[in-house]
């Protein structure tokens, strides 16, 4: 009885989370908008809010690793030039809480142009956009 509850509860806790469609103070964008921003606004900062271990499987070119648990006004300030510099957060996808959390922190730190690539890596791969793998082997 106990094991059944545990077996059922554990994946449910991880799998049931779906991020909200939008976060106040931030703009939710898709993969194409991300590319456009990155190409058009060369100062745009792309932050990968995932764990470092996730980045091994591939990351979006030009993204800086900053896991959400270490995200705060100081760590952000080290990566982002000014409060008006565009900044984009992503993580693994809509079931991933990290980018959303990071976005809220960035907004609270007073960044004006915060973008949230809510679809994340899942959406990126689905659209077959290129991922970078560090040639570690």
């Amino acid at each position: 009885m106990l094991s059944v509850v545990m077996l059922g509860a554990a994946p449910a806790a991880a799998g049931d989370y779906v991020s909200p469609p939008s976060i106040e103070g931030a703009v939710t964008i898709d993969a194409e908008k991300l590319i456009a921003l990155m190409v058009q606004r060369k100062d745009t900062v792309l932050i990968d809010s995932r764990l470092e271990t996730d980045r091994v499987d591939g990351y979006i070119e030009g993204s800086a690793p900053l896991v959400d648990t270490r995200t705060d006004c100081d760590s952000l300030a080290r990566l982002i030039g000014t409060r008006t510099t565009p900044v984009i957060f992503y993580c693994n996808g809509v079931r991933c809480e990290r980018s959303g959390r990071a976005v809220r922190i960035a907004v609270s730190c007073g960044y004006r142009e915060v973008y949230w690539f809510r679809g994340g890596i899942k959406d990126w791969q689905l659209k077959k956009f290129p991922l970078i793998q560090d040639d570690s082997e």
């Binding site: 990155m38 030009g62 040639d135």
Partner: protein, 774 residues
């Protein structure tokens, strides 16, 4: 006929069940054939989809591999250096290097060409696995690059893929952007999809064959040729290029033996079930029919036959034959059918048709007449005095007589005529397509057929018939009318004492009814003491004494009315009962004569004999026995016979008369003068006396012609040595005239009316004639 009925009955039931079963079995088989076709179709479709899914998987895997290869190439430092050098030969060399590395990398074995482009899809370097100088040759799948070049924005970061035909060979090309979000060029990886698809036979676990659209064979599984084509399901799947041209045709084969076996098994099972159902149905129906229908019917049939036919020999055997065995049930139904049919249309006694069938036939004839006008005769035939036979000799004798009468009647009828019994002694005959004259001929033939006597159970009976004829349409066009008119005609025939009569409107109903009333009374009272004798004295002119008493029969009716013999003797003659009647008279006379002779010793009694008696050899025997019984002398009896009776068959009559005379009896010719006696025959007759008919005598005192006839007769008789009696003497003047003419004896109201035996005894005692009151 009965036999055929049985076969039809039994086989009809079974055949119809079996036929239904065969139809359902055939339907089932046809359905299974259809479903078998459908099953194969489904199997083929299923296989097609399976091939489609699996081959798509393989091609997708191939695309993925190409993509991965593209990523790996651009990630290598050597490639980056070569790109930076911007030397196409160095780049091509670097790409060729990939093949050498790729050979040991499982994912890239299917790559056949690698191309590097700049952002505007200008070829920067190329390498082919199996060829050198790739830079000079055409690019494999060049269309893909042209299409990729047209893309705008973020789309340019995405890989593009297509299947193309190049030099009639199918290829899969994948374009991968080089660089991240800001690509610096593109790589095109071209693979051979066919060799990748070889794996399909393993994946599907079926032999496959891969061909080009022009039937060039590219690959065939080792097991492909071993499959017998008859039980193989083959499905085709075609891989198309991006512009919808067929590029690769993949055929997969599956051994359908198991499927066919399964379908065959299902067929066999279905047929077995159908046959079982048929057998069970037949058995059930037979069982059900036997117990619910045949058994009760068999019992009913037996009872009917037993009761109806009175346990005849042939019938009594049937119950033994009808043991509880099953086939007997069918026999019983057939027998019952025949019996019921016979009962419905036949008269059980005579085997002729019954009233229902006669009326039906007559109806048909009437209906037929409306289409083709022909005359149909309806003939009613009634056996005269048949009731006497039944009453005196028993019903069994009557039945036998009826059967014989029917046989004789049937003998003179045509095939198309219908003879039937309406009931009792009444028959009807329907003569189609005839006319009045022909109908009369038939009536005569029937009369003729009845002339000879019937031998029935040691009795010799005569049976004459009365026939009434009605013609359709002349005398009616309805069954009832025709039968009624024929009935009237028949009674008219009886009344007029003719043998047959055709209906005419003058025959009234009353006449017929009167005749019927008389019949009824006579039938019922023959055996009661309603018959009695009266005696009328015949006196001698010379002595004035009684010569003899003439015995006359009387019949007292229930209403007290007394009938004279003229009204019923002829009827008795026609029915053959005259013999019994005469026997009764002879015995009664003898019995009463014993008493009369006590009063008047030596008294003689005269008995009137019917002409029918004169043809009866037993007459002498009857008379002899009566005389013996009452110890009377033969001379005590005098027999009066009519002229006509003698003339009918003189030779035979003379023989009998001679015998009677030799016994000692006296003979008198009665009613002389009314017939057409041949004097020549008269001379041959052993008669002693003549009796002049009263029609000449009664008015001879006023009619001179009659007087002279009487005179001549007396003279003639005397000349022939005969004595003469005059009857009908009612007045003294006649008496005187006769006496003057030398007449020997006289009889009539002048001397004495017919008197009952008690009265005549008084009369004899008085020795005086008692004058009547008139």
């Amino acid at each position: 006929m009965i036999k055929r009925l049985h076969i039809n009955l039994l086989t009809g039931l079974v055949l119809s069940i079996v036929l239904l079963g065969i139809i359902s079995a055939a339907t089932t088989l046809i359905t299974t054939r259809i479903y078998r076709g459908l099953t194969f179709d489904f199997e083929r479709q299923y296989m097609s989809r399976l091939v489609a899914i699996k081959s798509s998987d393989i091609l997708a895997q191939l695309e993925h591999n190409a993509f991965q290869l593209g990523l790996r190439i651009q990630a290598s430092e050597d490639f980056k250096t070569a790109r930076a050098a911007n030397d196409e030969f160095v780049l091509s060399e670097e790409l060729e290097q990939q093949f050498k590395q790729g050979l040991i990398t499982e994912n890239t074995v299917t790559a056949v060409g690698l191309y590097a482009f700049d952002l505007d899809f200008k070829l920067l370097g190329a390498a082919l696995r199996d060829a050198s100088g790739a830079l000079d040759g055409p690019v494999l799948c060049p269309d893909l690059a042209s299409k990729a070049r047209l893309r705008e924005g973020p789309g340019r970061l995405q890989p593009a893929t297509e299947i193309c035909l190049s030099g009639n060979r199918p290829y899969q090309a994948v374009i991968i952007p080089v660089g991240g979000l800001d690509p610096s060029g593109y790589l095109q990886v071209v693979s051979d999809p066919v060799s990748a698809l070889y794996r399909l036979d393993e994946v599907l676990n079926m032999p496959i064959r891969i061909e080009l659209p022009d039937d060039t064979r590219l690959y065939e599984s080792p097991g492909w040729g071993e499959i017998p084509t008859a039980s193989t399901v083959v499905s085709d799947f075609i891989v198309h290029t991006n512009d919808s041209r067929p590029a690769i045709r993949i055929a997969a084969a599956r051994n359908a033996d198991a499927l066919v076996d399964k379908l065959d098994q299902t067929d066999t099972r279905l047929i077995a079930v159908v046959i079982a159902i048929i057998l069970v149905s037949v058995a059930t129906v037979l069982w059900f029919v036997k117990y619910s229908v045949f058994k009760p019917l068999q019992e009913l049939s037996n009872r009917l036959r037993g009761g109806r036919l009175g346990g005849g020999d042939a019938v009594s055997e049937i119950p033994a034959a009808l043991a509880p065995a099953a086939p007997a049930s069918f026999q019983a139904l057939g027998d019952l059918y025949e019996t019921l049919r016979d009962m419905a249309i036949r008269d059980p006694l005579t085997g002729t048709y019954n009233r229902a069938l006669l009326e039906d036939r007559l109806k048909q004839a009437i209906a037929e007449h409306r289409r083709t006008p022909t005359i149909t005769a309806v003939m009613l035939v009634d056996l005269v005095r048949f009731k006497y036979v039944n009453d005196l000799l028993g019903h069994h004798t009557g039945d036998v007589l009826l059967k014989q009468v029917v046989e004789r009647m049937a003998g003179v009828l045509r095939e198309s005529d219908t003879l039937g019994r309406l009931g009792g002694d009444e028959f009807a005959i329907i003569l189609p397509d005839t006319d009045g004259a022909q109908a009369c001929q038939v009536a005569q033939k029937i009369m003729h057929a009845m002339e000879s006597e019937f031998e029935v159970e040691n009795h010799t009976l005569s049976a004459s018939v009365s026939i009434g004829i009605a013609l359709m349409p002349e005398h009616g066009e309805e069954v009832d009318t025709l039968l009624r008119h024929a009935d009237y005609a028949m009674y008219a025939a009886k009344k007029s004492q003719s043998d047959y009569t055709i209906y005419n409107p003058n025959i009234t109903e009353e006449a017929a009814m009167a005749r019927m009333a008389l019949d009824g009374v006579l039938n019922e009272n023959i055996e009661r003491n309603d018959l009695f004798l009266v005696y009328q004295p015949v006196l001698d002119f010379r002595t004035g004494r009684v010569n003899y008493l003439e015995a006359l029969i009387r019949w007292r009716q229930p209403d007290g009315k007394v009938l004279l013999p003229e009204t019923f003797i002829r009827v008795a003659e026609q029915s053959g009962l005259i013999r019994l009647l005469s026997e009764w008279i002879i015995n009664t006379v003898c019995r009463e004569l014993v008493r009369l002779q006590q009063v008047s010793p030596g008294l003689r009694v005269g008995i009137n004999l019917s002409m029918h008696n004169l043809h009866d050899y037993k007459l002498t025997e009857v008379i002899g026995k009566a005389l013996e019984r009452y110890r009377l002398k033969a001379e005590s009896l005098l027999l009066e016979i009519t002229e006509t009776g003698v003339m009918l068959d003189p030779n035979q009559v003379i023989e009998i008369l001679n015998e009677l005379v030799s016994m000692g009896l006296t003979l008198s010719i009665d009613d002389f003068g009314t017939g057409h006696s041949s004097l020549a025959y008269l001379k041959r007759l052993p008669v002693h006396t003549l009796k002049v008919d009263k029609s000449f005598v009664i008015d001879m005192d006023t009619d001179e012609d009659n007087a002279s006839i009487v005179h001549a007769t007396i003279d003639l008789a005397h000349n022939m040595g005969l004595t003469v009696t005059a009857e009908g003497v009612e007045t003294r003047s006649v008496y005187e005239s006769l006496k003057a003419m030398g007449c020997d004896y006289y009889q009539g109201y002048y001397v004495g009316e017919p008197m009952e035996s008690a009265v005549i005894i008084d009369w004899l005692n008085n020795g005086r004639l008692t004058r009547s009151s008139r």
